[in-house]
């Protein structure tokens, strides 16, 4: 390595270290969490060992009961027990209460537990719960990733679709995709004539008009969403205006609807589409249009065959940014949308902050990341230089 490249590396090292430690490692950690399965082995080490020798058919050997009793006795005060019951309940509804019952019953029962336990906790006398423990003694699992696409393991280890009532994630991905597509399309349709108009103004007028784009662009997303949150309220200015103008007699339900999500998201993301379009159009100018006109092309041909292809890079650059930002959008739909209008990001936040299930957080994040990554790879074929910095 030459002396100069050593200096290069030395100068880059602090930032690189920060990004690796604070960003790459956390993302990697999360991705690994999507397939990790440590809870059962941590809380029930002896049971897992005994069940390891069991073939999963019929009932496990009697020693499994004593091992389970020992394990629960040992972990009853620790956090492991709670984590394990939550983990198993995720796989099989009701597993948590069976294990809680077992823990309660153990206080007053005497060994051998294979005889005494089934009397108080009849659910333990069926193979399902034992199969469940055995299946989840593996340190890795595909459960979370499967659940993120509405699939699950049966107690005997097959993969099946989750019951229709609980299947939400495929719809969620579809909804995220379609909302993002529509937001992008609306942004392009609104931005194109606007950017064209501004680029046709004199420099001075254009810079004033651009101010109307830049001020919202620099205003925080939350402030802009707040504005819509207030505007769309039942007693808010829009409903007040509609009633005052006697267009409607009753206030309309505007907030917490899909309509609100579209309006607010388009408002927030529109500058990202106008800015690249404007810069392309400004550079392009109208000389090509005039050339086409002088050669006798009618206006629609000038536009379709000359201007549109020349400004396509601006459309593509903006659309890719708008789409990518929409796919991961959280704040705006969370505030102005109803439960039926939420996207993947809402569930990532939900599983982090409300229903604590980090496996699902990780699995949904992984899928969203793969989705965005695939999108960038496709987009890069059309928009060169996207997604990476250009230097030198």
């Amino acid at each position: 390595m030459s002396k100069k490249s050593r200096i290069s590396w030395l100068l880059i090292a602090p930032l690189l270290a920060l990004v690796v430690a604070g960003f790459i490692l956390p993302i990697g950690y999360t991705m690994v969490k999507a397939v990790k399965n440590p809870e059962v082995t941590a809380a029930l080490p002896r049971t897992v060992m005994v069940l390891d020798a069991w073939n999963g058919q019929g009932m496990p050997p009697d020693s499994a009961w004593d091992a389970l009793a020992d394990d629960i006795e040992e972990s009853r005060r620790g956090r492991e027990f709670g984590a394990m019951t939550r983990r198993l309940n995720f796989e099989m509804n009701g597993a948590r209460s069976v294990l809680m019952q077992t823990r309660r019953a153990l206080g007053s029962l005497e060994p051998p537990y294979a005889q005494s336990l089934p009397v108080t906790v009849p659910e333990l006398a069926t193979p399902e719960i034992w199969q469940l423990i055995k299946n989840n003694s593996n340190p890795f699992t595909a459960s979370f990733l499967l659940r993120a696409v509405d699939l699950q393991f049966t107690p005997d280890g097959r993969i099946e679709a989750v019951p229709p009532g609980t299947a939400i994630f495929l719809d969620l991905f579809k909804r995220t995709f379609w909302i993002s597509i529509w937001v992008t399309v609306i942004c392009v349709v609104l931005a194109y004539p606007t950017a064209y108009y501004i680029s046709s103004l004199s420099n001075r007028a254009a810079s004033y008009a651009m101010l109307l784009v830049l001020v919202p662009f620099w205003t925080s997303i939350l402030v802009r969403t707040t504005a819509w949150f207030i505007l769309l309220q039942r007693e808010g200015p829009i409903n007040a205006g509609l009633q005052a103008a006697q267009i409607t007699s009753e206030p309309l339900q505007l907030i917490f609807t899909r309509f609100a999500v579209y309006v607010a998201m388009v408002h927030v993301l529109l500058p990202f589409q106008i800015l690249p379009l404007y810069s392309v159009m400004k550079r392009q100018g109208t000389s090509m249009l005039r050339a086409a006109a002088s050669l006798g092309a009618p206006p629609w041909r000038q536009f379709l065959l000359v201007y549109l292809p020349l400004t396509m890079p601006g459309v593509a650059a903006g659309a890719v940014i708008v789409f990518m930002l929409s796919v991961g959008f959280y704040v705006t739909p969370a505030l102005v949308g109803g439960l039926q209008d939420q996207m993947i990001s809402y569930y990532i936040a939900f599983f982090t902050n409300q229903s604590i299930n980090f496996g699902m957080v990780a699995a949904l994040s992984l899928l969203l990341l793969v989705f965005t990554g695939a999108l960038i790879l496709i987009a890069r074929r059309f928009v060169p230089g996207l997604g990476s910095l250009k230097a030198g």
Binding site: K4, S5, S8, W9, L10, L11, I12, P14, L15, L16, L18, V19, V20, G22, F23, L25, P26, Y29, T30, L190, A191, P193, T194, Y196, Y197, V213, L214, V215, W218, T219, S220, I221, L222, V223, A227, F229, I230, L231, E235, G236, P237, H267, P299, M324, G328, Y330, V331, L335, S345, I348, A349, N353, A362, S365, L369, S388, L389, K390, A391, G392
Partner: protein
């Protein structure tokens, strides 16, 4: 005909962009508690509430602490890294660049959730330091972009000249390189501050009430009960973005003049 249509359409879109922001202003000066127009009367009670409530003041203070710390760290790290990247064509340059720009491409919600999970393990969650680290990471790509762009117009012979005249490298960088790339550095710094000041998603994940920033406090307010104090907070944030926009435009103009001057020479 088409021309008229395009003009009307464009102004309608521009109106759509600006009007919602303008509506907040009269609402924030309302004397009533219901957020609607026309307002019953004008008063400063919501601003009073903002400046007399500890929650809002603490949140504002936290936002400035995190924003300024992020700006300083991101600008220093981003500028040195950009200079290093620009210095030579070392092996692995494209990989390094891709790696450093990743925080811009990864969906913010994924970044936020991952940081929450990992930062909890090392005790960085629920601390202003954790938020500063997180904001620095998402803000430095902007510093890199602006500084790399201004380094492209920088003539490396100037640095060589300074070194051959006996200046120490650090002095030469400070006295020769830095003044010339200053517009890029300043633009990056402003962007870093704005990124941190506006950021909400990571703040939702890794702060608890003691470390709430201004956007986080607003978000909490919108979720609980909506008090018009939020409109006062929003106006304050809009004015701040206005100031930042103004500074960044001034910096950009200065930068354009600098490069234009260079071309003339």
């Amino acid at each position: 005909m088409t021309r008229i249509f395009v003009t009307v359409f464009a102004w309608a879109v521009l109106f759509f962009l600006v009007a919602p922001l303008l509506v907040i202003f009269p609402l924030s000066f309302s004397s009533g508690e219901i957020l609607t127009l026309p307002v019953p009367g004008y008063s400063l009670r919501w601003y009073e509430d903002f400046f007399l409530t500890e929650r809002w003041l603490d949140a504002t203070k936290n936002s400035f602490i995190v924003g300024i710390a992020t700006m300083i760290i991101a600008t220093v790290l981003g500028t040195t890294a950009a200079y290093g990247i620009n210095l030579t064509n070392f092996r692995g340059k494209t990989v390094v660049l891709a790696l450093l720009s990743l925080p811009m491409v990864v969906p913010l919600i994924v970044t936020a959730a991952s940081m929450y999970l990992a930062f909890s393990v090392v005790g960085l969650a629920n601390s202003l330091w954790g938020l500063i680290v997180a904001h620095t990471i998402i803000a430095t790509p902007y510093v890199l972009i602006t500084v790399l762009a201004s380094l492209q117009t920088f003539d490396p012979n100037l640095m060589r000249g300074a070194l051959s005249l006996g200046a120490r490298p650090v002095t030469a960088f400070r006295e020769v390189v830095l003044p010339l790339i200053m517009p890029g550095v300043a633009a990056g710094a402003i962007f870093a501050f704005a990124t941190s000041f506006d950021e909400l998603v990571i703040a939702i994940f890794i702060t608890s009430p003691g470390e709430f920033t201004l956007p986080r406090q607003m978000f909490a307010g919108l979720r609980e009960f909506i008090s018009p104090t939020i409109t006062a907070a929003a106006v304050i944030m809009i004015l701040l973005s206005f100031i930042l926009l103004f500074i960044s435009e001034a910096v950009r103009r200065r930068g354009e003049r600098l490069t234009a001057g260079k071309v003339k020479q």
